[in-house]
């Protein structure tokens, strides 16, 4: 018992120390890969770190004092979400913390009067509407899969989900697909980069982050890195079990998924929010719903 507690504390601390760096590096790799896919050389893989360093060294033009507090709260809540996840507590609590954090991004955007910012906030809420059902189904799926493998004793505890006899993906292929789908929304990648985009030259300028600058924008970016690490952690959780080989399997899965996201980002154009909601819910019902039904009635 004590051993697992120490392990949980170590992984949570590692997340705080390295979670941001890991995704920052992945973001750099993402830009490099994207450039190569387009036949360009692309920036250095450390480019995201240069960008963040610059943002913190620049003047911060804040419209109100609230912006700093809100951006800071967003960062802290996202980090808290990841810490809860990597500490192996209840997955429902983790997803709840994630939703709370997401609201702060919306607050940050609505704290300014800019039309772009406000519209970005509305679209961000549409995104939440689109992905939230799948997030809940994922939690339920993990519970049921754990139950099947443990003679009917299900669990929402991440510790238990990750230490079954077999990886959860064996029972949750549909839910995994559904989760991959909403991951594109969560990563704010094309075709679902509707609330903000990595490239601001668009109809919405920069959406939710239009009116943030300098240090405040830097904090939001760092928060996104932590968020991405956490989300990739959830992807990894699908592959973890109590065998040693599941760890390299999870790492490979995470990298493959990230590559896939970059690829999809490159080959697709942004859709309208109506289509996003329809698609996301469609996939949720078909992949997630069917998977749950199968778990309920067949196993």
């Amino acid at each position: 018992m004590n051993d697992t507690l120490i392990l949980r504390i170590i992984s949570a601390v590692l997340y705080i120390l390295l979670g941001g760096l890991f995704s920052g590096f992945l973001a750099g790799l993402d830009r490099k890969l994207a450039a190569r896919m387009q036949g360009r050389r692309g920036p250095s893989v450390f480019q995201p770190f240069y960008d963040i360093g610059k943002l913190f060294s620049k003047e911060t033009l804040a419209l109100n004092h609230g912006q700093f507090v809100i951006a800071f709260s967003f960062l802290m809540l996202i980090v808290a979400t990841g810490v809860l996840f990597f500490a192996g507590v209840d997955i429902l609590l983790v997803f709840l913390a994630l939703s709370t954090a997401a609201m702060f991004l919306v607050f940050a955007a609505t704290s300014s009067n800019s039309a772009m910012s406000t519209m970005g906030a509305q679209r961000e809420m549409m995104q939440m509407l689109a992905y939230e059902p799948m997030v809940l189904i994922t939690a339920v799926g993990f519970y049921m899969a754990t139950g099947i493998m443990n003679n009917g004793v299900g669990s929402f505890k991440i510790m238990d989900i990750g230490s079954n006899d077999l990886p959860a993906i064996i029972y949750l292929p549909g839910i995994f697909l559904g989760f991959l789908f909403i991951l594109t929304i969560k990563f704010r990648k094309s075709p679902f980069d509707i609330s903000t985009s990595h490239h601001a030259h668009q109809e919405l300028v920069k959406g939710v982050t239009t009116d943030l600058s300098g240090r405040n924008l830097g904090m939001i970016e760092v928060a996104h890195w932590y968020e991405n690490t956490f989300l990739l952690g959830v992807v990894g959780l699908f592959f973890l079990c109590n065998e040693w080989w599941s760890i390299p399997l999870a790492v490979v899965a995470v990298l493959v998924v990230y590559f896939l996201e970059t690829f999809i980002d490159n080959i697709s154009a942004r859709v309208k929010w109506e289509l996003m909601v329809k698609l996301a819910w469609g996939v949720t019902i078909v992949c997630g719903g069917l998977n749950l039904l199968v778990l309920e009635y067949i196993f």
């Binding site: 830009r31 360093g53 620049k58 003047e59 601001a200 600058s213």
Partner: protein, 151 residues
């Protein structure tokens, strides 16, 4: 400390250009010239920008717009005037509505002549602007430190 020159984000504004220079500015982003390899991003958002790239001259209508965009950019920042129109009005100089180059509205740091300015020239201009930006960042930091000591 982070070097601003490693991550210059730019804002492109079309004053009263004929669009010739704008095409060349966009050409810089294509795979042939790929300015993103220097970390340059075309932001389209003054609040995120470090470099203000203006094409075309200043007229009565856009003078206030250019000034406002400039004011919305956080320090340190530099301005690059691309094309002869942006430098001094160019072929439109004598038109009744044209006031002149970009420096009639805001302080310009680098002038890139040419009609249209070639992508190579624009990239050279931006690289030159990075040197200015570096100086400005040092001055900005020194001023910030000074302010901190006076408090």
């Amino acid at each position: 400390m982070a070097k601003i020159t490693k991550s210059p984000w730019l804002l492109h504004y079309d004053g009263s250009s004929c669009n010739g220079c704008d095409i060349e500015v966009l050409a810089c982003l294509t795979p042939v010239y790929d300015v993103e390899r220097f970390g340059i991003i075309n932001t389209g958002n003054p609040k995120h920008a470090d470099i203000f790239l203006v094409t075309g001259g200043i007229n009565e209508k856009n003078k206030a717009v250019v000034k406002q965009l400039y004011d919305q950019m956080p320090e340190p920042k530099v301005v690059v005037a691309v094309g002869i129109c942006a430098c001094n009005g160019g072929v439109f100089k004598d038109a009744y509505n044209i006031i002149g180059g970009v420096d009639k509205a805001i302080p310009v740091d680098v002038y890139v002549p040419g009609c249209a300015a070639r992508p190579e020239a624009i990239i050279d201009g931006v690289v030159k602007a990075l040197g200015v930006l570096d100086e400005k960042q040092k001055a900005f930091k020194a001023a910030k430190k000074q302010k901190g000591e006076n408090k």
